[in-house]
Symmetry: C2
């Protein structure tokens, strides 16, 4: 157990929602984790408390200057009664890289994983059990000092909340239509595109709304300098299978270093695929398609794991990929990664971390 951790249990528990009606990010568990930071004192007072509102001075820096970092990961309930986390240490290592970029103090990643495990144990009856459902975990840091000077905050809160979520694909993996964005830019090298910070997501909403109005699910972001190199799709990393080789944008400084991205690359190389991390021009895809070489395209992220791309629209030129169907490799990657996450397939890379064993199992 995390040293100094206080646990205050909720005296009344919420009524749990029906598993078939979860959706994403609509319900929260009975507890949350909080820890405070003060300059000169460091992080202190780690505690699991009943889920409750955050009370902040109206001058708290998070409202004004956006010093806030978040992470996203999932806990899965296995059929044999364990709770598994997928590479959680990677999330907290990335959180520290984001923190560094935004002048937010670093956390101890091991202690953060310990805190998360404790929270999961307290709220383990919230982890859904139906196929495809999981517990989405949202760790985040906010700047809380009540001071309006444009300077890093001297006070922060680190918080973890958890939300039971439904299957991303209740009716099976399904390709999406993507609009290639030519006007708006998500990020640029030298900016904060590598950091998982709130401002990147606010910046992307407008293009996302316009794409939806045109009948597309999401946008494909191009780089801010040349306006032709592919960066991300929505808030996911993106991969292309061209002539049997897998291509994905290199981590050039404006792209999120996705944990699913990293895992997919591992898995593909493990299977013997050649994976090229490089600058990919949008025009290349159209060329490859004409030559019959563009075989599959998919986004990768924690929420969807794999999101196949069935169609691209770049300046009104429509490109249909794999007849708009989920590709064989996309499906295999999805099945394998979700199989490992649910503890149903072998975990050759030691990715899964056990967070809890259900009481009923312990009692055996």
């Amino acid at each position: 157990m995390l040293e100094g951790l206080q646990i205050e249990r909720a005296t009344t528990k919420k009524v749990k929602p029906e598993e078939s009606k979860l959706g994403f990010g609509n319900y929260y568990t009975d507890h949350m984790f909080i820890m405070n930071y003060e300059e000169g004192k460091g992080w202190f007072n780690p505690r699991v408390i009943p889920y409750q509102p955050i009370v902040l001075d109206p001058a708290a820096k998070v409202f004004h200057y956006g010093q806030t970092i978040f992470e996203g990961l999932k806990a899965y309930r296995t059929k044999d009664g364990r709770v598994l986390l997928f590479r959680p240490e990677k999330n907290f290592l990335r959180m520290n890289r984001s923190n560094e970029r935004l002048s937010v103090p670093e956390l101890d990643p091991n202690k953060a994983v310990e805190a998360l495990k404790q929270l999961i144990q307290v709220d383990q009856d919230w982890i859904p059990s139906e196929e495809g459902n999981s517990l989405y975990i949202r760790p985040y840091v906010i700047a809380t000092q009540a001071q309006l000077g444009v300077a890093p905050s001297t006070e922060y809160m680190f918080i973890i909340i958890m939300s039971p979520v439904g299957a991303y694909y209740p009716e099976g993996v399904n390709p999406v239509k993507i609009y290639v964005e030519s006007d708006y830019v998500r990020s640029v090298k030298g900016g904060v595109g590598e950091a998982k910070t709130a401002g990147n997501y606010a910046a992307g909403l407008k293009a996302q709304e316009l794409a939806k109005d045109k009948g597309y699910t999401q946008v494909l972001w191009l780089d801010g300098v040349h306006r032709k190199y592919i960066e991300e799709v929505g808030s996911m990393n993106v991969f292309f299978k061209i002539g049997g080789v897998i291509h994905t944008p290199a981590l050039s400084g404006s792209i999120l270093d996705g944990i699913t991205r990293n895992s997919i690359i591992h898995l593909l190389r493990h299977w013997g695929y050649e994976v090229e991390e490089r600058a990919i021009e949008i025009g290349e895809l159209y060329e490859a398609s004409k030559q019959g070489k563009l075989e599959e395209a998919f986004g990768t992220g924690t929420a969807a794991v794999i999101s196949p791309i069935g169609e691209l629209n770049w300046q009104d030129e429509v490109l249909v990929i794999n007849n708009g169907k989920t590709g064989e490799l996309s499906q295999k990657l999805y099945d394998t990664l979700t199989g490992i996450q649910k503890g149903e397939l072998e975990d050759p890379f030691g990715w899964m971390v056990q967070a809890a064993v259900f009481d009923s199992q312990l009692a055996k």
Copy 2:
């Protein structure tokens, strides 16, 4: 008075700080303004209430996806007992442009100015009277819906808080040393650099810290595409006097449309100066300096009004401007604009808006 406005007065008042010890953004008045927004309902429940904490669900979108917009302006107490605001309608018009970019619902600018006037009248005894001091006003919008999907919030709060602040230059206008930033980028065309949103400020903190470590007050930002065109200085717009002509970066899409910037351009043209809004290469300044033509440089913003630049460091090449002294034109601009703001000089453009008349005056 704003229709439907409720006013709840504080039953106990705070002890006011000494005017000589105000600083910037450290103290807040006894009251604040709040108004709520819900999709389908619009903005509702405008109210002046005692200054108090904001209570939000831990899943509120502002913490996660950064949908937040702010403004900054000042109220000045005149010697004859009036309270003046400087072009307040411009702030709320800009807030709406920022809102549009971040998918935040628009406000009625006239009603916002009315709400602000009401708040000022309730807290008018907080407006400092010593030379150079003023009441800094911070209107802002935050996304409050407790939902973790990456989509615009369906709920918001519009809040105004106010802080009595000390003189920016207690010992007279003073030039600063500026580091020209070559690695980090503030914004890029297609991004959110034009919007006054929290994320832009968080993104700038790192470079600011590094510049301070090197002995510089702030950074000069270059564009994210060519890395040579001047954008802003710290969080201010920037002007250069070269061979008698005034040059300032054009509003290219990544620069804030500063209200002080706009006012300075008005004033300069009114005085007969030629003002060029264009793309300015950093190298030009060094060339102009060699030819003895770089006469003055200064930042413009609400807090400082005019901030003369005495020295630039671009890749370790140091450029001293006007012998590191405040230029004649910089001083004249500062004296004129602050004179108009304090109601001591004629207001030829009708910029000042009366927010209140002190009770003692009304009683006369």
